[in-house]
């Protein structure tokens, strides 16, 4: 029974829009691509309807660059795309990371490569999101599996983007994005909204920090404090330098600020059995089939745990190790070839037997996961 006064049919895409508006997004730029187009359309209608900015871009590179410029001016900004558009955005995304510019990119995965299956779901851009940057930097990546999670994780994506002054990916997938579902809008999680720490006092240096993990306070373009930003390697003043010690310190800081907050950044949902011999790990749309499989396995007398990953990067290694406990086996269910995320987990869970349930061209069914248990 779902009987709130505000139960509505909403898609994952629509709940991303609600999350973005809740988070204070006032600037959106997009380029049409299935299965992300609904976000473009609805953000356009909602933002224009209240006088904020939604601008159609001539390509995905422009879309992200418009958002980056807006963010540097001090306005929360978001774009949304799918795998092919994401591929085009990656250089600008790296620029945002280097120039410590908050921005949220929603990547709604579909079957690929190339045009692939535009209306077919998949979870094949996981590593392309997590390892989008040159140099080993952590890109925070959140992965919703329900409309309510679409809402909450979009707010989290903005929050962490703001708090860390770094670009963040919300990694959705077609089945999450384009499925309509009864959602109680009156019972959405109450995620507090964060905004980047503003600069204060004199002597502002655009990207200076004292300890490596400190996130530099932000001053907008056009404001009273002189801003110097660059996508090139730079010193703490934001001036282009090659590899002097201060520049290398800045480069390490870009990772340190994320790594220091990894424990807070990593969100998981758990349904644990302390005596489980097997743990099923999944994310996105497949997490839902995995939960159902775990339920069925338990009904058949098996001792099984479930961990749903809401954060894919940084890898929730500590939470996973705790959840795995004494279990001997971890099964990772994901809709791609060869178990993309399982390969990442291999390093995080030493001594555990890791196996995969993978599929291409259709949602993984609970029965298929059950079979692997």
């Amino acid at each position: 029974m779902i009987a709130g006064a505000e139960v509505r049919l909403r898609s994952g895409n629509q709940m991303v829009v609600e999350g973005a508006l809740r988070a204070g997004c006032r600037f959106f730029s997009g380029y049409p691509i299935t299965p992300a187009s609904e976000i473009y359309r609805e953000m356009t209608q909602r933002l224009q309807g209240r006088g904020d900015v939604a601008v159609g871009a001539p390509d995905e590179i422009s879309a992200l660059c418009y958002c980056i410029g807006a963010s540097q001016r001090g306005v929360k900004a978001m774009t949304a795309t799918s795998g092919p558009g994401w591929a085009l955005m990656i250089e600008a995304f790296q620029y945002a990371l280097m120039a410590e510019t908050p921005v949220v990119v929603v990547v709604v995965q579909r079957l690929g490569p190339s045009t692939g299956g535009a209306t077919q779901g998949a979870q094949g851009d996981v590593l392309l999101a997590g390892f989008a940057t040159s140099g080993g930097y952590t890109v925070p990546v959140f992965a919703p599996s329900t409309p309510a999670e679409c809402f909450a994780l979009t707010v989290h994506a903005f929050n962490w983007s703001e708090a860390l002054r770094t670009p963040v990916v919300l990694l959705s997938d077609k089945e999450v994005a384009m499925t309509y579902e009864a959602v109680d809008l009156g019972a959405l999680p109450d995620v507090p909204v964060w905004t980047r720490r503003p600069a204060s006092g004199d002597g502002y240096r655009a990207v200076a920090f004292t300890t490596p993990d400190e996130v530099p306070p932000f001053a907008p373009l056009g404001g009273p404090r002189k801003v110097t930003l660059t996508g090139s390697a730079h010193n703490k003043d934001g001036w282009l330098r090659k590899n002097d010690p201060e520049t290398l310190e800045v480069l390490r800081h870009l990772e340190a600020k994320v790594a220091a907050r990894a424990a807070d950044l990593t969100l998981v949902t758990e349904d644990l059995d302390a005596g489980a011999d097997t743990v099923v790990v999944s994310y996105g749309i497949t997490a839902r089939a995995a939960r159902e499989a775990v339920r069925a396995a338990r009904a058949a007398g098996r001792r099984v745990s479930f961990v749903g990953l809401l954060t894919l990067f940084p890898v929730p290694a500590a939470a996973l190790r705790a959840a795995v406990g004494g279990a001997r086996r971890v099964v990772v269910a994901e809709e791609n070839l060869g178990g993309l995320y399982r390969r990442v987990l291999a390093g995080a869970l030493p001594g555990v037997e890791l196996s995969s349930v993978n599929k291409l061209g259709g949602m993984i069914r609970p029965a298929e996961i059950l079979e692997a248990l």
């Binding site: 029974m1 779902i2 009987a3 709130g4 505000e6 139960v7 509505r8 609600e18 508006l21 006032r26 600037f27 609805e42 309807g49 209240r50 006088g51 900015v53 871009a57 001539p58 590179i61 660059c65 418009y66 958002c67 980056i68 410029g69 540097q72 001016r73 001090g74 306005v75 900004a77 250089e91 620029y95 299956g117 209306t119 089945e175 384009m178 499925t179 309509y180 579902e181 009864a182 109680d184 809008l185 373009l221 056009g222 002189k226 801003v227 110097t228 930003l229 660059t230 996508g231 090139s232 001036w239 282009l240 749309i285 839902r288 089939a289 939960r291 159902e292 339920r295 949602m363 609970p366």
Partner: protein, 436 residues
Amino acid sequence: MPYCRGCGHGLVARRLDEALGRLGLDARRVVLTTDIGCVGLVDPLFPALHTVHTIHGRSTAVAAGAVLADALCTEGGLKNIVMLGDGGATIGLLHLTQAALMNVDLTVLLHNNMLYGMTGGQHSALTPEGFATSTTLEGNWLPALDMEQVLRGCHGGFYARQLATDRELGAVIAEAVEFPGFALVEILELCTGFGVPLNELDGRRLRAMAQAEGKQLGVRIRRTDRRPYHALYRERFPMRAAASPPPASATSAGPFAHRLERALGVVVAGSAGERVQTAAAVLAQAAVLSGLHCVQKNDYPVTVGSGFSLSEVKLSPVPILYTGIDAPDAVLLVSADGLREVKGRGDLERLAPEGLVIVDESLAGALPPGRALAVPLRRALSADAAALGAVALLVERTGALERGAVLAAVDALGGADAGRLRAAVEAAFGLRPAAA
């Protein structure tokens, strides 16, 4: 100066400084956005301005974002000056044309030295025919892109072409910065590292070259009939104090009862344009009105509007985890397109025990006898109400929902033919299977 002796880039920087002095702008309300290339080394020469060094070719797009956010979300009045080379203009041409089309209020100084200097003198799209570069040693065999024509094609507001050595360059830059809209100043210069040694050039030859190409100097476009993008935008989309409400949607859950003890998976299939997805949405909405959990997903060929149209709806008294339907409890087929698609997917083979198949009478012959309930949906209702009728029959046969829930969901659709659709649903409740 971070530039080679005799390089035009240094001259342009001086002329920009002169222009800014002439305009008397508040330095904190000016952003200098630079591209990749030698031109991108200019930032530290303007320590009073905000400087943003971007990625190759994208400077105009980053600057446009900042200008739009400033004009529409904050106090407005920000000046943004983009400096890029002919290489940046080549790879970033789309950003330039879009900014010109939109008439975004920013100024682009295009340093055209006719080659990529920083990377070793390769030719660009702006390299003139006959001009030697490290990748066209015998002379470029393509004509150069004419930025003046490009700007005209984009209805650009302001375009000027000057030599870096022109005395009036500072005044022209000032005019461009003041211009309310997109302004591009193309500055012809020499790369002393590559252009000069490969082509035996000097300033006089450069002027002669421009003339030979038919490139006229001076302010070539100055339109006053176009307003900047942000002004048009604000007129069209006024700022409203309160956030706009979410799009209108149907009534909320609860007023109707249901008789569902476990999940019910329904597949509805028919032809594009015959409101299959609307029918599925009505079923989903009726479920919501009955306090049920529900998911709805739609499928169609790569091109919308042709071939089949198929929806899945899953209703459940408990929260739904897996959103797929492995063994449908009901399959509703209202056209041959839908039947073909469902056969391809194997829904009928996977039908749950006691599963219900409702088909239009026209499809009865294509299914094993006794398998389906054949009803004159298309004939009795209409092609575009057949799927809705099938949904009504499903509700009627299973008793899962109240009739009123379906009618309320139809009413919630609104639109011009809401009355007709309601009548179709009412008629469908009374439909009986075609004679066997």
